[in-house]
Amino acid sequence: MKAASVPAEHRPNVPAHGTEAPYAPLELSTGKRDLVLSSRWVNAAGFLGLAGEARELVDLAQLGAFVTSPLSLQPRSPARGPRLLTFPGGFLLHTGHPNPGLGAAVRRHAAAWADLPIPVIVHLLLRTPDEAAEMVALLESIEACAGVELGLGEVDAAQAAGLVAACVGEIPVIAQLPLGTPLMVFASAAEAGAQAVSVGAPRGALRGPGGGRVHGRLYGPTVFPFALQAVAALRDCVRVPVFIGGGVYSRQQAHALIEGGADGMILDGVLWTEPEKVLGDSSAQPA
């Protein structure tokens, strides 16, 4: 299993600056394959690429796991029209999750996944239970895949349960739903067999350059208060580990989420600006 081969010096679990008490490693297990996160930080899917292309920005060894960009069964093209809009304190992304498709991604990147210093979680874009099962079956043959994160999108409780149930098997499953999803949907995903749940970016809309609405995922510091409010409610609702992010741009914000009940922290926009503000000192700082 991937995590077991990671040298101890590459598995920091101290919350960065080293003065705080370390968090214990987090282990998600199916009994057949284990996902061990030595630190509680993970990247949001789509922020560090498919195989660690962002090494120049982030010391991957500081993360507990590397989450790939979202992968669909078939290749996807970029969204048409505006894909990035900003607003005070945040930004909206509507990229369409362009990707080469799961099969091509595995062929191109599985070897690189095996070489990363941390476990790899493959983020899957799901549409139907049959498609979900096909994708997970492919990943079960890839030893470097330590976990899957299921991007469930905007679904109801029954749909969430169906998608998760189709994926439960050898690989630990993390069910991701957008911030703002009703708690019962998270609970349904957990009851269907997810080893953990994660809270993705909330959805929103902004007026685009042409006057029409552009819908997409919202990021930035303005999201943080909503994440902090959500984590306690979610903690009371599910009995599996909870990953949450949303607007975390400082260590204090990360600790607030952990104190609020989060088991893992999902970092997004800060990875493209000043990751050391959360992860602590590393070589990825301006010189």
Binding site: E56, R80, L84, L85, T86, Y249, G269, W272, P286
Partner: protein, 224 residues
Amino acid sequence: MRRWLAHVLALATTASGTAAVRIGAAPGAIPTPGQVSLACQPGAQDPLRQVLVPIELLLGEFTCLQPEGVRWLPGDELDLLGPIGRGFSPPSDRARWLLAVFDLPPEVLSPLLTVGLARRVELAIWSEQRGAYPPQVEVLPELAPAVAWADYVALAVSPGGLERLSTDPGLPDLRRQARSVEVFYLPRMACGIGVCGACAVEGRPKHPRACTDGPVFRLEELLP
């Protein structure tokens, strides 16, 4: 590409009236003509880095268009990421350069203009906005005749202007008439490292990203 600590030296206004920022940075952080940089203010919790489009390049400093909405002041520190992407690479054997700017401040091609002056090539410029140019540069009222004259064409188009190149009946057919064309095309950029897809070019095979495959493209990459 890497991160650099830089400083705002001064705020300025270009000849076309556009706000600009002079930035001091290490020589390795200075883009080449056509490349860009991304910047945020250390400790400011900027949601994203801002895209810096250079309009003047010097040793140890560069001037860029001021990103919309920023309130940087002289003395402010900046965390630069760059230089980003692929810049202009005019063939060395071309002697008649045409620079044309669509829907952007004409200064975006000024760094390339400086290269042309240094190479002593014949230079002509066409822009929808008024600019100030050295006397060696001919300012053209019409684009079409110059396309036939030039042996190298550099275009700068806004994110919304790309389709004009193939659909505007008032524009010459660059694909047929021009010998060698490079296009500065910069959709809104988020990550700068090719992972987010925000600056992907629509409808093109392999969806090239402006941040890694551009922002200077060969014309045939954008208009196959």
